[in-house]
């Protein structure tokens, strides 16, 4: 969509190619038409009726609604469903339920779907929030009741405003014998006070008050709270052994049905109450790894913006909303419709619902959502654009019932700002909107999290994964199409439908939902928290479960400022160069997890010198790590983290084995998603211990892990070089040329792949034997040839088999950087290709020189030079090229100028000396139209120079710079005269001879050639025609491509996708053709 933010600035598409088993782009409309039919009864548009607690579901279409729920008798029928969402609220205590009988009590809601596709809401009662305090000296069972009273009293006093009307803050206190997970102090258990409070948020209050020493029992800093920082939902799930997205069974008689009694608070079809201890939670294994047919609604909206302004919900109407609903497990949506403002011509294969009033459309859409009752929302950037826009717009238009989009009848969906900080993604500001019971699974957020792409526009992403281009209609055209007739609105509708359809296709292709669900199952957290929270929560959830089993408590870590950084992973200093012999790579598989397992590194095994002395430990009972930390061996106590890792790794092995045996494609997807989730989870454990602002950092562990890693890499280098040498009967002395984190690159000196592979395998086995299990060195691949540029920067042709290379592997090179122009990436790719695949370094050099020469002579396509940046805000501190340009363009034509949130493409044009670069940015189309010269020097020095010298330095050494950037080939430049600007007015055009470019005398202006060149008439004519013919062919291929992409022969192409490499080319070719046409015409009318 053009009139909204679509991810980050960038252009082009980059990455590996998805297998092309998808429909070609050209056929979207026919695809749409041929989707399985919805033989719907079109719902009639009733006048809305309004209920006090938000509208009820109205069944208006059999097709839209879920299948009717079974008639349940709670005494005889059980209920089994897959839960997808969990939340909690403070409610009234129900008689007969466990837990506190004094309201308010926390009640947990689980939302899910049965195998028959009925939606379920399950209210779970009686689970009480709690935390622990280390009991002070002399505290005994007898002190408990007094302690409870006092604590209760101070807490109630502390609750100034008490919206929940809490009467009894502390529900219960008890003494338990447990031990802290942090550190090994023998096997003695300690006394802890377990404090149950009325509602979850009181945990923090209680902890704060206790730590402030308001109670007489505690003194000094000694007070330590345990498990006070755990989310209530996670707590509940861990205690009841519920994992994310698992199956829940309620036995007959264990629950009461609300649906019958009429006290339904939700829009779910089946609503029940159940005590928490009667839930049966099935672990996601065997039969219970199945997936319910939950409903996914993908939608996209269009709004009619005003010229030059980013659409604002207070001004600009929503004009279309396209919807696609698919059941999990199916590939094609079974509901396809579009809500349009004003009439719209029919579209085959999808229902068109038109409205005259925007208010009616929005209300009806909300009704549609409630009726479809989706479990998941998806779309592209719906979280930060579509939903907020719709809600704000509906509020602005005073559509009263619109905001009831969740499953709880009386809760409105409200937009909040939400900041997420994570190492994986950095800081991101997102909107968060509540849809109780429904998950917002925004595809853009998923992609930002899981894939590193050059561009995140829906267009670029679809091309990347599906090989499908989509039209990109400029926002100024959207309003025109809307203001046209039913046909033009239909065109817009097809475009809008495609935007709703693509996320579904992408999710299907990438299996994101399955993968996330499996991740939720493996790590035990809910689907939503995977999307909205960082990595830590996953490890925390697993640690909590494991320590619960083993009787440990997790201390509540106080976040402190970052301490000293521990030493990171080391690299063996690279011996830079271009290696034409095969380089074998030995990798430690899952290095960090295996180190933790091999050396029993955990919170619960950490000791220090004083503990060793105190407990009288002998050196065979503990180990000292290379980071000078001490951990007891597993013979003394098996660490929890190693246990977690072991179960993750054995579960992964199991999943892989099942995967190999599985034949059903859908089950295969699930299993593959699982093994991947397991791998990622195992690797994130190390990160958890090292995250200093995290929930439970332990630098002794993370520091030891990296220290072990370092020594192992060093050791491997030693072993390889000592063993594989001429002295021991091998052909050559081997040399480790580089090593990084978990791999070493070995030059065995042999010349053939086969030899390198054999030696690699042998070395991996030999050296593995010297390390503690499960640490294992594996031989994985051979690079041949190999270009080692620097630390973390290398490229090579990747072989796992002798007969054929797998791919070209590049690390840390400018092939995916987003702030470069495509020329850089293209040149890098081609140079590497020449060096590695063609094994022709000379060719690479001459290619690079040729490109530089082409650049200087203006022979490059302008799309190669376009830099794109997002106009994120207008008040940047420093002057920025794209901001300056946006302002310039606004003066020229406010309508087509980029708006806030748009991506601004620009090229750097030449200007007077010392003009700062930000002043020289210009719109590429303007440059093309006016023949404005490009600042080639800028491109050479600021864009190409560094990456080029970098990749050529292993070949050319210090000469790289002078050879490439200042050689003979940089001497010729051609200068274009601009059609605009001060000088243009004074130049007078005179015809020149097409052969030798001399200016023709006044009398011969009409001739194509001068006297001297006339004998070469035919040759020159042919060469001019050759130029013309190339342009003609290009013109034809480019414009027919656009027709195919837009999926119509009879309609004009209106796409203005600047991501698309064709966009500038097709404009340029039109201009060039008209120019060359004039040249060719100088040879006279063709016939005579």
């Amino acid at each position: 969509m053009n009139n909204k933010r679509r991810g980050n600035p960038s252009y082009g598409v980059k990455g590996k190619i998805a297998r092309n088993d998808e429909e070609a782009a050209s056929t979207f409309e026919s695809t749409l038409a041929s989707l399985p039919d919805n033989d719907e009864d079109y719902p009639d548009r009733d006048v809305l009726e309004c209920l006090g607690e938000g509208p009820d579901i109205q069944t208006t279409s059999i097709k839209w609604s879920r299948p009717p729920p079974p008639v349940l008798d709670s005494s005889r029928d059980g209920l089994i469903f897959q839960q997808l969402e969990i939340d909690h609220y403070a409610g009234t205590a129900i008689k007969g339920m466990p837990g506190s009988q004094v309201s308010p009590v926390p009640i947990i809601r689980m939302y899910g779907v049965t195998m028959d596709g009925n939606s379920v809401c399950c209210h779970v009662h009686g689970f009480t929030p709690y935390f622990y305090i280390l009991a002070p000296e002399g505290f005994s069972e007898r002190s408990l009741s007094e302690f409870k009273e006092k604590l209760n009293k101070v807490m109630l006093e502390d609750l100034k405003s008490n919206p929940e009307k809490v009467e009894e803050a502390v529900v219960m206190v008890e003494m338990v014998k447990k031990q802290s997970i942090f550190g090994y102090f023998g096997d003695n258990l300690l006394n802890f006070i377990k404090i149950y409070v009325a509602i979850p948020k009181l945990i923090a209050t209680a902890k704060r008050l206790i730590e402030k020493n308001v109670l007489p029992y505690f003194s000094g800093d000694a007070t330590q709270a345990f498990e006070a920082n755990i989310d209530f939902d996670i707590r509940f799930m861990a205690d009841c052994k519920i994992t994310g997205c698992n199956w829940i069974e309620l036995l007959p008689g264990s629950y009461t049905l609300r649906t019958a009694s009429g006290f339904c608070s939700t829009r779910c079809q089946i609503e029940v109450d159940v005590p928490y201890n009667k839930l049966i939670s099935h672990q996601p294994e065997g039969e219970w790894s199945k997936v319910a047919p939950f409903r996914i609604l993908s939608f996209d909206l269009e709004c009619a913006g005003r010229k030059g302004i980013f659409p604002e919900p207070n001004h600009d109407p929503v004009i279309q909303i396209a919807n696609m609903v698919v059941r999990q497990g199916e590939h094609e949506p079974f509901i396809r419709n579009i809500f349009t403002l004003k009439s719209c011509a029919p579209i085959l294969g999808s229902q068109v619902i038109s409205f005259e009033k925007e208010e009616d459309m929005l209300e009806k859409w909300a009704e549609f959502v409630r009726e479809v009752d989706p479990d998941l929302f998806t779309g592209y950037n719906i979280n930060n654009f579509d939903f907020p826009y719709l809600i704000n717009r509906a509020n602005h238009l005073k559509c009263r019932n619109f905001v009831f989009l969740g499953r709880i009848k009386n809760i409105k969906s409200i937009i909040k700002d939400h900041v997420i900080q994570s190492k994986q993604m950095g800081r991101r500001e997102n909107k968060s909107i509540n849809f109780e019971g429904r998950t917002c699974f925004d595809l853009l957020l998923v992609l930002l999290r899981d894939y590193k792409l050059r561009s995140y526009t829906l267009n670029a992403v679809s091309f990347h994964f599906l090989q499908e281009q989509k039209e990109d209609v400029h926002h100024s055209i959207i309003t025109d199409l809307q203001n046209g007739d039913a046909q033009s609105r239909r065109r817009l509708a097809v475009y809008c439908l495609k935007d709703a359809y693509l996320p579904i296709k992408l999710l299907d292709k990438l299996m994101s939902i399955i993968n996330y669900m499996e991740m939720a199952r493996v790590t035990g957290v809910s689907l939503t928290s995977l999307l909205t929270k960082g990595q830590q929560i996953k490890v925390m959830s697993q640690l909590l479960r494991k320590s619960l089993e083993s009787g440990y408590l997790l201390p509540t870590h106080k976040v402190v400022d970052a301490q000293d950084q521990f030493e990171g992973a080391t690299v063996i200093e690279p011996i830079k160069g271009y290696y034409q012999d095969p380089i074998a790579t030995l990798d430690f598989s899952s290095l960090y997890p295996s180190i933790m397992m091999a050396h029993n590194l955990c919170y619960s095994t950490l000791i220090n010198q004083s503990v060793i002395n105190k407990l009288g430990l002998t050196p065979d009972q503990y180990s000292a790590t290379p980071a000078n930390c001490y951990f007891v061996k597993s013979s003394m106590r098996k660490g929890l983290l190693p246990q977690i890792l072991e179960s993750l790794i054995s579960a992964r092995k199991k999943a892989k084995k099942e995967l190999a045996n599985e034949t059903d494609p859908f089950r295969k997807k699930v299993l593959d998603g699982r093994q991947l989730a397991l791998k990622i989870s195992a690797n994130s454990v190390y990160g958890f211990t090292g995250a200093q602002v995290g929930k439970l950092p332990c630098l002794e562990i993370s520091g030891s892990v990296t220290a072990y890693g370092r020594t192992m890499i060093e050791r491997t280098k030693q072993e390889v070089e000592q063993h594989y040498c001429i002295k021991n009967g091998y052909k050559c002395d081997s040399l480790v040329i580089y090593g990084d984190t978990d791999s070493v690159m070995v030059k065995f000196g042999v010349k053939t792949l086969q030899e390198a592979m054999d030696l690699g395998k042998e070395a991996a086995e030999n050296i593995s034997a010297k390390f503690i299990a499960p640490i294992k060195l594996e031989f994985e691949k051979v690079y041949w040839p190999y270009l080692l540029i620097n630390k973390k920067r290398y490229a090579g042709l990747y072989y796992t088999r002798v007969d054929k290379y797998d791919k070209m592997d590049c690390k840390g090179l400018e092939t995916v950087r987003r702030d470069n122009c495509p020329l850089v990436a293209n040149m890098m790719n081609t140079c590497l290709q020449k060096m590695l695949i063609d094994k022709d370094p000379e060719g690479a050099i001459s290619y690079a020189k040729q490109q530089i020469s082409d650049l200087l002579c203006n022979r490059l396509d302008i799309s190669q030079l376009v830099i794109t940046k997002e106009l994120a805000k207008t008040d940047y501190a420093g002057k920025q090229a794209h901001v300056e340009l946006a302002n310039k363009m606004k003066k020229r034509d406010a309508g087509s100028a980029p708006k806030l949130g748009d991506r601004v493409p620009y090229v750097i044009i030449s200007g007077a000396k010392a003009t700062p670069a930000y002043m020289k940015a210009e719109d590429p189309i303007y440059v093309l139209e006016n023949n404005i010269p490009i600042d080639t020097k800028y491109y050479l020095e600021n864009q190409l120079s560094k990456p080029l010298t970098r990749i050529f330095s292993p070949l050319l050494g210090d000469k790289a710079d002078s050879t490439l950037l200042h050689g003979e080939h940089t001497r010729t430049k051609s200068i274009i005269t601009s059609k605009v600007g001060a000088l243009a007015a004074f130049t007078k055009k005179k015809e020149v001879c097409l052969g030798c470019k001399t200016v023709l005398p006044e009398s011969e202006q009409k001739n194509p050639l001068c006297h001297h060149c006339t004998p070469k008439y035919s040759t020159i004519l042919i060469s001019e025609f050759n130029k013309y013919r190339d342009l003609e062919e290009k013109f034809n291929r480019l414009w027919t491509q656009c027709q195919r992409c837009q999926g119509s022969l009879h309609e004009e192409v209106i796409c203005t996708s600047r991501d698309c490499p064709i966009f500038y080319m097709r404009k340029k070719v039109q201009m060039d053709l008209n120019t060359q046409d004039n040249t060719v015409l100088r040879f006279g009318c063709p016939t005579w």
């Binding site: 085959l348 009879h1050 008209n1074």
Partner: protein, 448 residues
């Protein structure tokens, strides 16, 4: 050698468009004005040519569909299908063939594809090809139709039912055919006149062609001497310098015409040849894909200034590609082979004669243009629509000679047409002789 006097003068300006030369009882007229450019404008898109094509053919196809299936069947627009599905009806539109293997410039220029060079292929047909019908507004997938027998850009009427999955199940298909019979249909045919058709001289690439050509000319002049039968018209239908797109290693070479010195020599040779031929008869030179003129169809006549000697003879004329002209009372229409070869690449009609016959029935000279065959972005008409049924419908530069005579019923009149595939002379050393009265085509071999 008999020398034929030219006993009248023509004003060169008139010759630009249509002209009539009566010379030694040979009537020749260039009827290709719609293929000639006055101005060119490349700021247009291709949508218009498709729209005009559908519009220009709509009446005739409606007529033919009614002839074929009867008057009572409803002709519907796709947009109307939804209101009343499951009823048999006729839909008229342009076919689009969705082909996975179709080369895409987008894929070629996208960075990621640069790593793996795209496979060079000559044919792009696969089992997954889908046929889609597009009317003025919408598209629908057609089933029950053999994708390998149709190509993109063909206008047709289909009879069938929209099935439950939203696809159109085709029962029968109807193509427009030529719109009207030849204007000369009622005029008498001269019984002892012949026209000679040649193509693919490949003067720049093929060295042994020249000898065979000399032989042909000698034979022609000798034969000319006989009083009963005369050949007074020669057509050179493209491939003057080079006619194939493959180099020695079988790679597809781009659009460029080789401009080396060989070309200059070849052009001089051609000049002498044409000068000699046009002394005695009308010589018509059509450009082919690799001849020195523009690339997009219609190709404009080769600039005659590169033939300084021959251009002195008024009997030497440059034609367009495709071309339409009249010799005696026979209407010739055809191309230098590009549309037919292109159809062969994108369908299973590999035999050029089959493809030529198909285009005849489709009523269009080059249906795959502009999709896979370059053509000029026409704005106000589609000049390639076959308006008048030719007597001789030719396509040149093929690997062998082939010909047949078919009949087409216009309702009120039945007209014969000779379909002829003119072989490449450099490859086969064969020319084609057309009897202007019976339309019979026969190959003339000149193997040295």
């Amino acid at each position: 050698m008999k020398s034929l006097a030219v006993d009248f003068e023509i004003n060169p300006e008139e010759k630009l468009f249509e002209e009539s030369v009566i010379k030694d009882e040979c009537v020749y007229a260039d009827l290709s004005s719609k293929f000639k450019f006055r101005t060119r404008d490349f700021s247009r898109q291709y949508a218009h040519i498709y729209t005009k094509r559908l519009l220009q053919m709509k009446d005739i196809i409606t007529k033919r569909a009614k002839q074929k299936w009867g008057d009572e069947l409803k002709i519907r627009r796709l947009a109307e299908l939804q209101d009343d599905s499951n009823s048999r009806c006729v839909v008229i539109g342009t076919l689009y063939k969705d082909q996975e293997l179709k080369p895409s410039i987008l894929k070629e220029i996208s960075e990621e594809f640069q790593l793996v060079p795209q496979k060079k292929m000559v044919r792009f047909v696969s089992d997954t090809d889908k046929v889609i019908l597009e009317d003025e507004l919408q598209r629908i997938v057609l089933i029950g139709i053999d994708a390998s027998t149709v190509v993109t850009g063909t206008v047709c009427a289909v009879l069938g039912v929209e099935d439950a999955s939203g696809k159109f199940n085709v029962e029968s298909i109807c193509f427009p055919g030529p719109q009207a019979p030849s204007p000369f249909i009622l005029l008498p045919k001269n019984s002892n006149k012949y026209a000679l058709l040649l193509s693919g001289l490949d003067l720049a690439t093929s060295s042994d062609t020249l000898l065979s050509l000399q032989l042909l000319i000698q034979w022609l002049s000798g034969w000319l001497g006989s009083e009963q039968e005369t050949t007074s018209f020669v057509l050179i239908a493209g491939g003057l310098l080079r006619s194939t797109s493959e180099d020695l290693e079988g790679k597809i070479v781009g659009t460029s015409i080789d401009s080396s010195s060989d070309i200059t020599t070849a052009l001089q040779l051609a000049d002498e040849l044409f000068a000699e031929l046009s002394e005695t008869m009308n010589v018509e030179l059509m450009p082919g894909q690799f001849d020195p003129t523009n690339y997009l169809l219609p190709q404009q006549p080769v600039n005659l200034r590169v033939f300084p000697k021959a251009m002195a003879n008024k009997t030497f004329n440059g034609g367009t590609n495709p071309h339409k002209f009249q010799v005696e009372n026979v209407l010739f229409t055809g191309s230098s082979g590009e549309p037919i070869t292109d159809i062969g690449r994108y369908s299973k009609m590999e035999d050029p004669l089959d493809a030529l016959e198909a285009t005849f029935h489709w009523g269009h000279l080059a249906p795959t243009a502009p999709d896979t065959l370059g053509c000029y972005p026409y704005y106000d008409e589609d000049p390639f629509v076959l308006e008048e049924q030719p007597d001789v419908f030719f396509s040149s530069n093929h690997s062998s000679f082939n010909s047949k005579i078919i009949e087409f019923n216009h309702g009120d009149v039945v007209q014969k047409t000779a379909l002829v595939c003119i072989p490449s002379f450099s490859k086969t050393k064969t020319a084609v002789l057309v009897n202007l009265s019976t339309l019979e085509c026969s190959p003339i071999g000149c193997e040295t």
